[in-house]
Each structure stands twice: as structure tokens, then as C-alpha cells.
Symmetry: C2
Subunit: 767 residues, 2 copies
């Protein structure tokens, strides 16, 4: 059956329409939760003053970022219009390409909206959580934080499902092509928000700590530190806006991959069932969110984890029922004649794949918890090494990161392999992997809710500290909630990278599907050249891994650079504004926010360009088989690197908390000093480089899918020296080289000469 | 032409005989250099006392290690006898398998001998270098260090060439099969010596620094520190024995891969030419070594680099001449009918490939130098970040490591791709890659000489410091030579990983060649399943990358654990032996050596098992295509990880040296303290985990080559559930799981409970 000729029956249309209605309900619930949060009391004037400063800073940053992204979006829009699309010739083809470009803008807009909404609400919820902790105790405070997360979570899955559902309703069999644009828009914006937000949050955090804790010996969130407001702004633009956009993007891209492969593997039903699975996720997420109602005497973490588990079990049951209701009992009934599936029962394949994805989510939740929680052996081991100094803490945490990456990656690989065994070789196996991704998606609503919980409570604590208007008891409540937030943030990162791997693997299938479509009978040549041990493929694998390493290095370096600028500015303020340390002078918080905003937007460019241009350079330069190797190398190295960075960072963070809670000498001991160093090292690991790898993988995969027809069309496969092809690759390579060159060059400018000059001025001022 | 029917003409036999004679000359020259070193004066009694303690410790360690390896070797010998070998049936097959097993023992013995020799001579040269520096100045001191390196370098290439040459002389067309055993023996022993030596050297170093520099504030190599002798022993067993065995193994394995592929691609000439290339390397290495004669007024580094460059250029010229003399002008004349080569001139393909390898060596020399030398921007940037504390030094050095890994990996990838373009798809392209590896081998003699220079001068400085018998001027000479040694060590690591990648990529070709041989017409099925985007292959890529991460994590953790034991022992001695700090009591150096010896041999087991058992688990468990993906993932992740670890460690080392030389506050400043922390983090990066990845890659590849016929024979390809196959995979997996479990469990035993107990006892003793 030719996929392009599929028409949707009225039954299918009705199902998709129901999915769209469910998506609308999710959006409505998001608005309801938002209203609930905004109804809460906003606390004292001092609290509101701090909160408003954070709100202003965050809004200013995000506005500037979205404006910058607008330029990128317009360029991408035009390029996308020009890119050929397989199976879309003539006028209809033109229309489809236009639709793909418009879908790109919609996806980008949705991604930006989710990020903006998450940030907007979080900076309003933080002060309300602080006020509630002061006035009414833990449970009402926790409820506000949970509802904030619920709003963002519902909006994420609502908009994701809405976009995909409407495209399927309108474009039917051509939906996958249009959805490529939607997914690319979502992924591109999410990547920029992730990277920019990640650089912002950690530059402010590291800079604040270096001057505050290390040099001036004042506590975190101390109002005398000019970088505190920037630090609080950072929590919102990084953890809220960045993570929400990232998970939205995972959601959208997984759906896109599932629909592309579903059409090829299951025919008509394959365009509908991938929408049904996340739709059940909306329902179970709502149940999960209502289950996360705080109960007196039960630890907040336990409540959240229980809600996650229950909604996961419910999803598994509901999806299995949906598969048996919605799908026929054999491939023949699907209209598929040749299938590679191990079992001739689409219902079993579909439901088992979805369940694999859900089980994967639960496993990762526990694995990440094990490696980053203070109660378990690994972090206790790292804490033990703090007695022999910072170096041993860093070494043991780094080793923990490497090991945990391996176990998590192996669990994810097992899920991929399990789904593949169900579906068999060929497109059915790839669709099974995509369905596992959809299964994992059913938990995204709760995951986003859990993640948003973190920065809101963190900020609430900051506001309490800075305003000085929260008593001992309220502070205690906020400290407890903040610690819970740390763990939920770590878990979210684990799930996010799992969705990224499944989505990227499935997209990988879409890439070859696109090539198959263009090449037809010539496909076997491509297969022969894409064997993993062919030198060009192996070179591709090495280059793909290299991009992940370079991207991580650039992100970490960017944080160091921006943090250096913060340190210089805060030092300047301490020196030039009289009475800051005595509390009689007020630091200029806004200046620091401006500096971090400017620097992090500037630092965006190089990693962003690398993600978009490197698959273009490899594809056009070395050919389609090398590009396939490149994607495989990026996925494998990416998942390991992302988890290593996230978990070692998370473990160091909690090691510091353990020591601060009194282990191995407590606050102020040499062990504490050692863990502060390790925590600072971990900051850009866990909040900048690590999580940015998720959208990186998907942007690269989507670029590969989008350029595949052009690459193959320019005889990149047969090895003919096509000048246009090498010109495109050359331009892409040159762009990367120039960007990296400037990026590394900037490093020396800021880090050597001017700094030494300033240091001299400083000495002169002091002397 | 069926490769097994190749006979060697008398002309070829004579050429191979000449190669064997050249190999014998190399061995003779090694003996001559050895005598030259031993003739030098051995200094004062105090110096000799220290040197003897180091000699005893090193010999005791290496004897125990070789005994442990003996057990492993016997097991591997038997398993190898049982493994089927393709194309070797009946009595002749039995004989060939026996020969392969015997070659395994010879390879293992050669590898061990080289390591032992390197160590044996280095611990005798160190005291002579110290004495010469005291008595006669820089040039005679440098000459002894250079001659020591020359002896080990000549022995390395002499024995490697001798083994390969004799096997080709005796077994002719069957030589590749027998050589698999030779290479495996060399690689296995080298890996164990690398890992064990690496753990020993850094456990002693880190442990000595943690107690000495950090806790007691006494300088490095201070005789009051009980761990100093162990630290000096470590330099020899790690850098000398480990690196020499490692490079010998690279040499042997590259030759093996080249001969396997040469037979398939070039017929008879392919069994001879790969021996001719390194034979010219013997000549040019000798010239290079004689060029490294110290000249007054010229910096030692400049002399060494110039010698390397000159011998590289000479090699390129000589190999090109050899290709045009030795090879015919067309493939038809070689007896090859179907070739995929881009040019129908084997002479051009062969000489250009060799030149690519030589150029690669020169490029890596410069890249590594750029990233780790104190004169260049990168290390100066890291040093600049020391003013904001240890965390920023670590972050910027880590980013530097990531970035330098990318550029180095891309250069290596370009060399692979270049050779592949010359040879075209198929076996000729793979042979071209192997020839590039042979080209790189021509520099190994000089490289080993350069590398051995490092620990000898390092130890000479230690002996001078501990004996107190070297005056200011002599100390100055030794400090200069030590700094040169640091840089040459870093460069050697870069070259070593490049040889590893080329050898592994070529071996990868041997793996598929073996499968092709067994499957015959069924080979296309294997190809179809081994495309890089097939889920099982992609899972293999992820698992391969995981093994590199796990191996690195285990190695780093092992150092931390063993260093912890050193710290406890040195603390105990300070506490229990009266008068150590005053210089009236003498520490028990031997106790620390014993502890490190015991611990590092115990820590060997898990990483070693992982390397051997994981390809078995993947191959038999997931099948031959997944094993191919596994190898690709391991090579790509391995090269990036190895360079990242080596270069960030090297950069931190030199950052510390820069600050100690007076930049940013000099010795004792906060910046210095920050760089000491970073250097300690870098120690296991650059000297344990990083360099051990080289032999790891080759052991895994060779295991894959050896088991390929068995894996394919057990229908792992067709997916039939063969119980024996799953049983083998299960046993391998179980062995890894148990070893990792015990390894991680030991961590907690040593790192938590007992340490806390000891800490309590300590407190009690102090209180």
C-alpha cells in the first residue's frame, strides 16, 4: 500500500476529533490551575518587591530571547520553503511545503508560549508559596507549587496534542510531512531556550556563589549580593521556561516520529493510534495531579512519587484497552500485506510497546533517584570522599556520573531493543519504538508538574530569605520543599533524556523512510553503504559523537565566561557602592541581570549553529550514509553524556546538602568547602550542558529528516562530485568554524587581558 | 583469488627475511643502548639508596602482576584452542589453532617483556641521570635519559616486527590467523599493565599529595612522606612499563590488522608490504634517536621535536620509494581482478596511505602540544580561571578537554576518510586505513623514546630531592628536563590513541572479513542487518559507548579507593612513628608500596573482565550485527573520551606548573591551591582512565575478531534461538555483573564504614 494514498475513514476522523477535544480540555484545565494559583495571597510588601524584581528580569530576558529567535525563525521559514519534500510535486507539493513552513512557525510559537507561560506563572507563584509558608504552613504552600506545575504540565501536553491532532484532521495522509515542520519549530525554539536559559541560570548562580559564598562569605540569596536577583531570575528562565519548552518539544517530536512511522507500518490506524496514547495521558495526568494533594504527615516527595506511579499504572491499563478497542487483530485487517512483525497481532505489539515506554519511565525515575538521592549509597559515598578534599569529591562524583549514565543508557537501550523485538526488522519495529516513546509521553504531564515544582519552591525560599519576612517555621517548610524540588528536577532530567533517545531513534527511522521514498529501488545501495563498519559510516559515528562533546564544551565554557563577567560586576559594586556589606547601600541588581541577559543570548549562537549546520555539513559533504552514522554517534554519545552530566551534577548538589545538614563536619568545615567546589563544577553540568543535549539530538535528527531528500537528490549517495552539494557543505562548515573560532577567541578576551587589567585596578583601589 | 591459496614467491620470502634481520638489528641496538646507559656513573650512596628502594618496589610489583597475568594467560590459551577458526578444518586446522594459541603466549610474553624492560632500565637510569645532572650538567644528563628511551623504543619495534615477520615466514598465507593470537596476547597483557600500572601510579601520587601537600604542607618527594617511594615506583610501572607495553601492543595489532586485510586486498604483496613500512621505521627511528643528541643552548623540547619531524619526513620518503620499488603498477599485476579502489595503481594507494598516517602523527603532535603546552592560549586561559577558584579551573579545563578531543578526533577521522577515499569501499579501503596505521607506526620508535624520557627525568628529580645530594644548579637542570618530560608524555598519549583508532578501525575490517569468510553468500543478510540505523545495531552502538564510560568510571573509582588506603596508611605512620616530621624517624616506605601493589592488582580484575566479556555478551546475546555496532560505538566514544581525559589532565598539570612558576600569585597563593585540586582531579584522568582506553579498544576488537566465526556459526545472525549461544552470553553477562557489583560494593566498604571507624580511632588517638 502506498502511504500517500491513505484516506481516513469517518471513524478515524471522529477519534482524532475526540483527541482534539481532549487537548482543548487540557488547555482549559491549565487555565483553571493558573487562576487557582493567581487567587492565592501574595504576601508582604517586601516579598512583593523582591518578586517584582525577579518578574521584571525574567520577562525582559525572555522578551529579548524571543525577539532574537524571531530572526532565526524567519530564516528557517524561508529555507524550509525552498527544501524539496518527497512525494509532494506540483501545486499540491508547493502547498504542502507552505503548510510545512507554517507548521514550523506554529510549532516554534507553541514552544515559545509554553516556555513563556511556565516562566510567567512561576515568578508569580513563588511569592505566593512564600506567603503561604509563612501564613498557613506546608500543605497550602505545597499545593500552590503543585498547581503551578499542573498548569504548565497541562498546557504542555494540551498544546502538543492540539497541534498534532489538528494537522492530522486537516492534512490526513500528508500530515507527517507537515508535522516535520511543526516538530522542527518546537525543537529549534526549545533548544535555544534550553541553552540560553541554561547559560543564564548557571552564570548567575556560579557568579553569585563565587563572590558571595567564596569571597565575601555571605550566605546564598543574601540581599547584599548584587547577583541574587539574577540568580532567582535564572531559576525561572532555565528550569521553568527551558524545561517546559524542552518537554513540549519532546512531546511534539515523538508524536511526529510516531505518525510518520505509523503511516508506513500500520496504515490508517497508524495515523490515529499514536494520538490516542497521549490523549489517555491527559486523563491520567489530571488524576495524578489531583492525587498530588498534600497530606499532613506524609513527606512531599513520597506524595509526588506515588502520584507518578499511580498515573503510570493507569496509563498502561488505559492504553492497553485502547489498543484492543481501536486496532484490529491482524495485519491483514490493517491493510498491511508484508510485515516483519514477530507477532501477527497489531493490538499486542502496540499495547506492549506502549507499556515498555511506561515501564521505562518508572525505571528511570528509580535509577535517577538512586543515584542522586541523599538516602542512597552512591551520594553517601561521594559525601564520604569530601573528608579528603574537593579533588576526591569531584573524582568520585564524576565516576558516579559515568556509571549511572551506563546503567540508565542500558535500560533505555533495552527498551529500544524490546520494542524492536516486538515489531521486528523494518518499519514496524521502528514504529514500535516510537510507540514506546508515546507511552513515555503519557507521564509528561506529571513530569512537567514535578519539574516546575523545583524552581518555584527554590525561588520562594529566595524571596523569604531576601525579604526577611518569613519566620523560622515558614523557612523550615520552604527548606523541606526546596529539597524535594531538587530531587524532582533530577528525575525530570532522566525522563527527558529517555524521551529524547526514543524520539531520536524513531526519527532516525523517519530519516531512512524519507530516503527509501526518494530512492525506491536504489535503496539497497544506500543500505550497503550505511553498514556500520563502512569507513564513511564509522567516520560519521565519530563526527556525531564529536558534536555532542563540542556542544557540551561550548556550553560549559559559555557559563564560565558569563559567570566571570558577573563576578567582575559584583566585585565592582562591592567596591564602588558604599555600605553594601553593612546593609546601608543597595546593590544594583538590574545591572547584573542585564549583563547575564546580554551574555547568554550572545553565547546561544555557536551551539545553536552547530546543531543546525553540522548535519548539513555531514549530509551534503560526506553523503547520506555518513549522515546516518552521524545520527547514531550523536544519539549514543548524547545519551551517555547527558546522563553523566545530569547525575554527577545532581549528586554533587545533594552531597553539599548532606554536609550542610551536618554530616562530616557540617557547614563551614573543610568537607563543606570541598562540596561547594564540587557543586559549582556540577552547576553547568546538570543545568546547562546536560539538559541541552535533549533538544540538540532532536534538532539534528529533524534537520537530517528535512534535508534527506535534497541530499539524496544531489547524488550524495552515488558519490558523484556535485559542486552544489559541496558548496552547501562548505558554507555550513565555514559557518561552524567561524562561530567556534569567535566563541573560543572571546574566551581569551574576557578571561585574560581585560580581567587582569581590572584586577590591577582593583588592587589599586584597595591599595 | 582465494586468499588461503596464496603462496609467497622467493622474492617475497627474501624481503620478509630482510625485515626479520632489520628487526634483529633493532633488538641489538636496544641492547647496545642499554649497555650505554648502564655504563654511566650511579652517583652518591644516598642517591643509590633511594634508587634501590624504587627498584625493589617496581620489581616486586611487576613480578606479582606478571604472575597474576600468567593465570589469565593460561585460561585464555585454552579458550583460544577451543574457538573455531575460519578456513582451518581437519588436522591442519587443529595445528593452526594450536599455533594461534602459542602465538598468543608469545605475544603476551613479548608485551610483558617490553614492559618489564622499560621499567627495569628506567629505575636504573633515573639515578644515573640525577648523578650526571649533579656532576656534568644538562647535556650528559639528557643523553642518558634519551638513550634509555632509545633502548625501550628499539626493543618495542624490534620485537613487534620480529614476531610478525617470523610468523609470516613460517605460516605464509595462514599467517593472519596465527597473528590474531599474537596480537591478542600483546593487547591483553598491555591492557592489564596499563590499567594496573595506571591505578598504581595515580593511587600513590594522589595519596601522597593528599597527605603531603594538602594536610601536612610538605613539598612533593619529601622523604618524610611515607608514600614518596611508592609515588616514584608508580611513575615507572605506570608511565614506563604501561606505556611501553601499550605502544608495543599498538604496533603488533596494527601489523596484524594490516596483514589480515593486505592478504585480502593485495594478495601476496599485501603480506609483505605492511612489514616493509615499519622496517623503514626502524631505520628512521635510529636516525631520529641519534639526532636527539643534546646541544648546548638549544632547548631539550626543541631537539626532541625536531628529531621527530625529521624522522617522520624521512619515513615518508623511504616508504614512498619502497612502495614504488616493491609494488606493481596495477591491480591486475597483483592478481586482483575486482577492486573497488579509486585509482588502479597500488603503488600510489599504498604510499599515499602511509603518508597520511605519518602526517596524522605530525598533526597530533602539534594539536596535543597546542592544548597542553604552557606557552599556548588554551592552558593560559585555564590558568587565568585559577583566580576565581578550583571550580572554574576544573570547568575550563574540562571544556578544553572536550574541545581538544573533538579537534583531535576529527583529524583522525579525516585520516580514516582520506585513506578510505583512496582505497574505495570494500577491503581495499580498509587496507588503506591499516596502511595509514603502519605509517603512524614508523614514528613509534621515537615516540616510545620520548615517552620514557618523562618518568626517568621525573624520577631523577625525585631522587635528587630525597637524597639531598644535588646542588642548586643540578636541580635546575632536572627541573627543566622534567618539564620537557611532561610535554612529551602528553604528546605520546595523543599518538597512542591515534594508533589505537586506526588499528581498531582496521581490525573492524578484519571482523567483517571473518564473517564474510564464514557466511559466503549469506553475507548480504548480515550487511542488511548491520546498517547503522537498524535498532539492533543502534543498541550495539549505545552499549559500545557505555562500556567506555563504565571502564573509565571504574578506573577513576579504583584510583580513588586505592589512594584512600594510601592516605590512611601515611596518616597512621605520621601518628605512630615518632619523629617523622622532625626527620629523626624514618617512614616505612615499603608498607605503602605493598598496599598500592595489592590494591591495584585487585582493581585490575573488573575493568579487565569488562573488556573481554562484554563483546562476548553482545556478540552471542544480540548477534553479529549488534557486535559490529558495539565496536563502532566503542571506537567513537573511546577516542573522544581518551583524548578528553588525557588533554584536560595534561592541561591541569601544566596550569599548576605555570602558577608554581609565579603566574597569578605563585606558590602558596589561592590560585595555586585551586590548581593543585584540579591537578589531582586530572591525575587519574590522564594517567589511568584515558590511556587505558587504547588497549581496551583493541582487546575488544580482537575478541570480536576471534569469536566472529563462532557467533555466526551459532546462527546469531538469523536470530534462531540457539540455547548454547544464549548460555555463553548469559555467563559473560553474569561475570561482568558480579565483578561490577563487587567493585562498587568494595567502594562503600573502604570508603564509608571502615574509614569512618578509622577516622574515629584517629580522633581517639589524637584526643
Amino acid at each position: 500500500m502506498n502511504p500517500e494514498t491513505i484516506t481516513l475513514s469517518s471513524g478515524s476522523m471522529i477519534t482524532v476529533a475526540v483527541v482534539v477535544v481532549i487537548a482543548l480540555i487540557a488547555v482549559a484545565m491549565a487555565l483553571r490551575f493558573r487562576a487557582e494559583v493567581l487567587r492565592a495571597r501574595t504576601g508582604t510588601d517586601a516579598m512583593n518587591q523582591v518578586a517584582e524584581a525577579v518578574q521584571e528580569g525574567a520577562a525582559a530576558y525572555l522578551r529579548r530571547q524571543l525577539r532574537t529567535l524571531g530572526v532565526f525563525a524567519v530564516v528557517a521559514f524561508v529555507l524550509l520553503l525552498l527544501l524539496p519534500a518527497h512525494g509532494a510535486a506540483g501545486t499540491e507539493g508547493m502547498l504542502l511545503r507552505a503548510a510545512r513552513s507554517i507548521a514550523f512557525l506554529v510549532g516554534a510559537a507553541f514552544s515559545g508560549t509554553i516556555g513563556y507561560l511556565g516562566m510567567w506563572l512561576a515568578v508569580r507563584a513563588n511569592v505566593r508559596v512564600a506567603a503561604a509558608a509563612e501564613e498557613s504552613g506546608r500543605d497550602p504552600a505545597m499545593l500552590i507549587a503543585v498547581r503551578t506545575g499542573a498548569c504548565v504540565g497541562m498546557a504542555t501536553i494540551g498544546l502538543g496534542l492540539l497541534g498534532a491532532g489538528i494537522v492530522v484532521l486537516v492534512f490526513r495522509a500528508n500530515a507527517p510531512l507537515v508535522l516535520e515542520g511543526f516538530g522542527f519549530g518546537a525543537a529549534l525554539v526549545a533548544m535555544f531556550m534550553r541553552v540560553g536559559g541554561g547559560i543564564f541560570t548557571k552564570a548567575a548562580d556560579v557568579g553569585a556563589d563565587l563572590v558571595g559564598k567564596v569571597e565575601q562569605n555571605i550566605p546564598e540569596d543574601d540581599p547584599r549580593n548584587a547577583a541574587t536577583i539574577a540568580d532567582n531570575v535564572g531559576d525561572n528562565v532555565g528550569d521553568c521556561a527551558g524545561m517546559a519548552a524542552d518537554l513540549f518539544e519532546s512531546y511534539a517530536v515523538t508524536l511526529v516520529a510516531a505518525l510518520i512511522l505509523g503511516r508506513a507500518a500500520f496504515g490508517e490506524a497508524g495515523l490515529v493510534f499514536p494520538l490516542v496514547v497521549p490523549a489517555t495521558g491527559v486523563v491520567t495526568a489530571l488524576i495524578g495531579i489531583y492525587l498530588t494533594s498534600p497530606k499532613a504527615g506524609v513527606s512531599a516527595l513520597k506524595i509526588i512519587r506515588r502520584a507518578f506511579l499511580l498515573s503510570a499504572i493507569l496509563s498502561a491499563v488505559m492504553c492497553t484497552i485502547a489498543a484492543f478497542v481501536h486496532l484490529p487483530g491482524s495485519f491483514a485487517e490493517l491493510g498491511i500485506e508484508n510485515t516483519t512483525a514477530a507477532i501477527d497481532d497489531p493490538r499486542i505489539i502496540a499495547s506492549a510497546s506502549v507499556v515498555i515506554g511506561i515501564v521505562l519511565g518508572v525505571l528511570i525515575l528509580n535509577l535517577t533517584g538512586h543515584y542522586t538521592a541523599t538516602e542512597d549509597r552512591p551520594v553517601r559515598g561521594v559525601a564520604g570522599s569530601s573528608r579528603t578534599g574537593a579533588a576526591t569529591v569531584i573524582l568520585s562524583g564524576f565516576a558516579l556520573g559515568l556509571e549511572s549514565a551506563v546503567f540508565t543508557a542500558l535500560v533505555i537501550a533495552a527498551a529500544v531493543f524490546g520494542a524492536f523485538l516486538l515489531g521486528g526488522a523494518g518499519v514496524t519495529g521502528l514504529f514500535a519504538i516510537a510507540l514506546a516513546g508515546c507511552g513515555l509521553l503519557t507521564t509528561v504531564g506529571v513530569i512537567v508538574a514535578m519539574d516546575t515544582f523545583g524552581p518555584v519552591t527554590d525561588n520562594a525560599q529566595g524571596i523569604a530569605e531576601m525579604s526577611g519576612d518569613v519566620d523560622e517555621e515558614g523557612a523550615q517548610v520552604l527548606t523541606e520543599l526546596d529539597a524535594v524540588g531538587n530531587t524532582t528536577k533530577a528525575i525530570t532530567k532522566g525522563i527527558a533524556i529517555a524521551t529524547a533517545v526514543l524520539a531520536a531513534t524513531a526519527l532516525f527511522g523517519s530519516y531512512t523512510d524519507a530516503i527509501h521514498g526518494v530512492l525506491g529501488d536504489g535503496y539497497q545501495t544506500f543500505l550497503d553503504q550505511a553498514v556500520v563498519f563502512a569507513p564513511q559510516t564509522l567516520v560519521g559515528v565519530i563526527v556525531g559523537g564529536s558534536v555532542v562533546f563540542l556542544f557540551s564544551g561550548l556550553a560549559i565554557r559559555a557559563v564560565g565566561r558569563a559567570a566571570g563577567a558577573v563576578v567582575m560586576e559584583v566585585r565592582r559594586q562591592f567596591r564602588e557602592i558604599p555600605g553594601i556589606m553593612e546593609g546601608t547601600g543597595k546593590p544594583e541588581y538590574g545591572r547584573v541581570v542585564d549583563i547575564v541577559t546580554r551574555d547568554s543570548l550572545r553565547e546561544l549562537a555557536t551551539p545553536g549553529l552547530l546543531a543546525v549546520a553540522s548535519p548539513i555539513a555531514v549530509g551534503f559533504g560526506l553523503g547520506a550514509p555518513a549522515l546516518a552514522g552521524y545520527l547514531a554517534g550523536a544519539i549514543a554519545t548524547g545519551v551517555l553524556m547527558a546522563i553523566m552530566l545530569a547525575n554527577s551534577g545532581g549528586a554533587w548538589d545533594n552531597t553539599k546538602k548532606m554536609v550542610e545538614d551536618g554530616v562530616h563536619g557540617g557547614k563551614g568545615s573543610p568537607a563543606h568547602e570541598a562540596t561547594v567546589v564540587a557543586d559549582t563544577v556540577g552547576d553547568p553540568f546538570k543545568d546547562t550542558a546536560g539538559p541541552a543535549i535533549n533538544p540538540l539530538l532532536k534538532v539534528m535528527n529533524l534537520v537530517a529528516v528535512l534535508i534527506a531528500p535534497a541530499v539524496v537528490g544531489m547524488s550524495a549517495l552515488s558519490g558523484d562530485p556535485n559542486p552544489l552539494r559541496f558548496a552547501i557543505a562548505g558554507v555550513a562548515l565555514l559557518a561552524i568554524a567561524v562561530a567556534v573560532w569567535f566563541s573560543l577567541g572571546r574566551d581569551v578576551d574576557l578571561g585574560e587581558e581585560p580581567v587582569e587589567e581590572r584586577a590591577v585596578q582593583e588592587d589599586a583601589a584597595e591599595g
